[in-house]
């Protein structure tokens, strides 16, 4: 009984919105006071097919800058995280706290100041500019995950590999990175989602010349075409889920092959 109650609550909070979105996708004419759509149609899907190119460009662009942001944050955090996990130094706690602030303070406060600098250095309205601003705002998630990853891994593997004569780069590529993969995936997923779903920063720095899926979706959300907005919102939900599922299964396959699990 208790279980049913908890589940009912979860479904009501988290599944019902998805069901309504699916219904509304296929019922452009769903209006007050109908609780169930009067008629279903594929008008929304037709519109989607008609504007296929624009939508795919926006989607592809969002995907690319989010993935690049993940890679950039990984590059930023890999070495510093190993230092933080493996050594004690004075002021460590303070420095760690300071390094986490970009994810806490409102991103507007530094992004709008940076906008000026980006215009001067021709980074405004470009993909690299968008990636930089997104990385600056989302790297703390990668950093935290990597520090935790290094801590669970411990020093022994690296020391052992180095003792056996492996170079620094080789140790990193063949020993450390594979062992850190779960942490990288965990941090990377969060960074990806943050970058993929951000609207304002992309709008500010990308200035409309960097297409993004959020930018495409935004004006539709307050328009009267709820069917189309619902379809695009569902894409937003299922695309990352699909992406993560593929990632998960490949990872498990890789681990099996390497005999890690």
């Amino acid at each position: 009984m208790k279980h049913a109650f908890v589940f009912g609550l979860l479904v009501l909070l988290f599944i019902l919105p998805v069901i309504v979105l699916i219904l509304s996708s296929f019922a452009p004419g769903w209006r007050f006071p109908e609780i169930w759509p009067g008629e279903f149609s594929l008008k929304g899907i037709e519109f989607l097919a008609l504007h296929k190119e624009k939508i795919l460009t926006a989607l592809g662009s969002s995907f690319v800058f989010s993935l690049v942001t993940v890679l950039v944050t990984l590059g930023m955090c890999l070495l510093p995280a190993s230092v933080f996990a493996g050594s004690e130094f004075s002021g460590k706690a303070l420095l760690e706290g300071l390094l986490l602030t970009p994810a806490l303070v409102p991103p507007m406060t530094f992004a709008m100041g940076l906008h000026f600098l980006f215009i001067k250095f021709f980074l405004a309205d470009t993909m690299p500019g968008v990636v930089l601003i997104l990385a600056m705002f989302s790297y703390p998630y990668m950093f935290r995950a990597l520090v935790a990853g290094y801590q669970t891994m411990g020093q022994e593997y690296r020391v052992c590999a180095r003792n056996l004569g492996a170079g620094r780069l080789r140790t990193l590529l063949t020993v450390e990175l594979p062992l850190l993969l779960p942490a990288i995936v965990a941090g990377g997923s969060v960074v990806f989602l943050v970058a993929f779903s951000e609207y304002f920063l992309v709008f500010l720095i990308g200035g409309g010349s960097v297409p993004s899926f959020t930018g495409y979706l935004f004006p539709l959300l307050s328009s009267s075409n709820r069917s189309l907005a619902s379809i695009l919102t569902l894409i937003f939900l299922f695309l990352p889920i699909f992406f993560f599922l593929v990632l998960d299964t490949t990872l498990i396959r890789v681990y099996r092959k390497k005999g890690i699990i």
Partner: protein, 287 residues
Amino acid sequence: MKTKFLLKLSPLLLPYLVLFCGGVFLTFSQSLGFLTPLPYEGGLAEAYGSILSSPSFYSSFFFSLQVAALSAFLAVAAGTLLAYWVWKLPAKLQTAALIYKIPLILPHIAVAFVVLLFWSRSGIVSSLAHSTGLIEGMQGFPNLLYSGWGLGMILAYALKGTPFAMLLVMALLLRFDTRQIQTAAMLGASRLRTFVRVVLPRVAPAMHTAFIILFLYSFGAFDIPYILSESRPGMLSINVYNLYFKRDLARRPEAMAILVIMFCFAVLFIFAYTRVVNRLENVERKI
């Protein structure tokens, strides 16, 4: 040794100093009238003067504070309870309970859209109320989203924040020993007492972290207010947006001054909150 150490930290320290600190510095200097797109005529603190003397700034500030505090509180409370309940589910059901991650994936603007679908006057809840005879027509449904209380934004932030709080609390619960609850029950503690005295202290750190993150995010974010906000009082972020993009370039320092105030508030809040929590925990330990 020292240089090697700094070199290793540099991939993070350099962007942090240049982009983050530099960005905040530029915001600050523009608020004083330096480095603005147009030469600024006013004095050093003129932008601050005009911001701090306008009553609409204060109403926006407190409105943002109220939306942020209420939504973060709701999300943390609901998230903690749900996390505890899900944690007590049998292992098989726990996998199915992963549905709670759905709003984590949805972007903020999509969550705002969901709130619009459900709670607007022509939305699902209104239709339900009509078909059960509670209201006569669309006008009978309370204008929740535009009531002046920011209810729409609070709902959206709470819906987006609940799974986030759940995630953090759940991570701590996974390392929590069930026998502690059984012991408490054997010693005669009621369910409520067990939850308050045994479980809550254990998950409190996650709750505090979740509260700080959610509170500051809803305090300064732009996406949800832009879809769900009411014209007056507006959230601070919307005021900044309007000043930055829609008004005269000459008013740029005012937008920047609001941002500096928001930044200082956020930093102060983090410090004050962690201080208070530490002190409370110390008091508790002494008892």
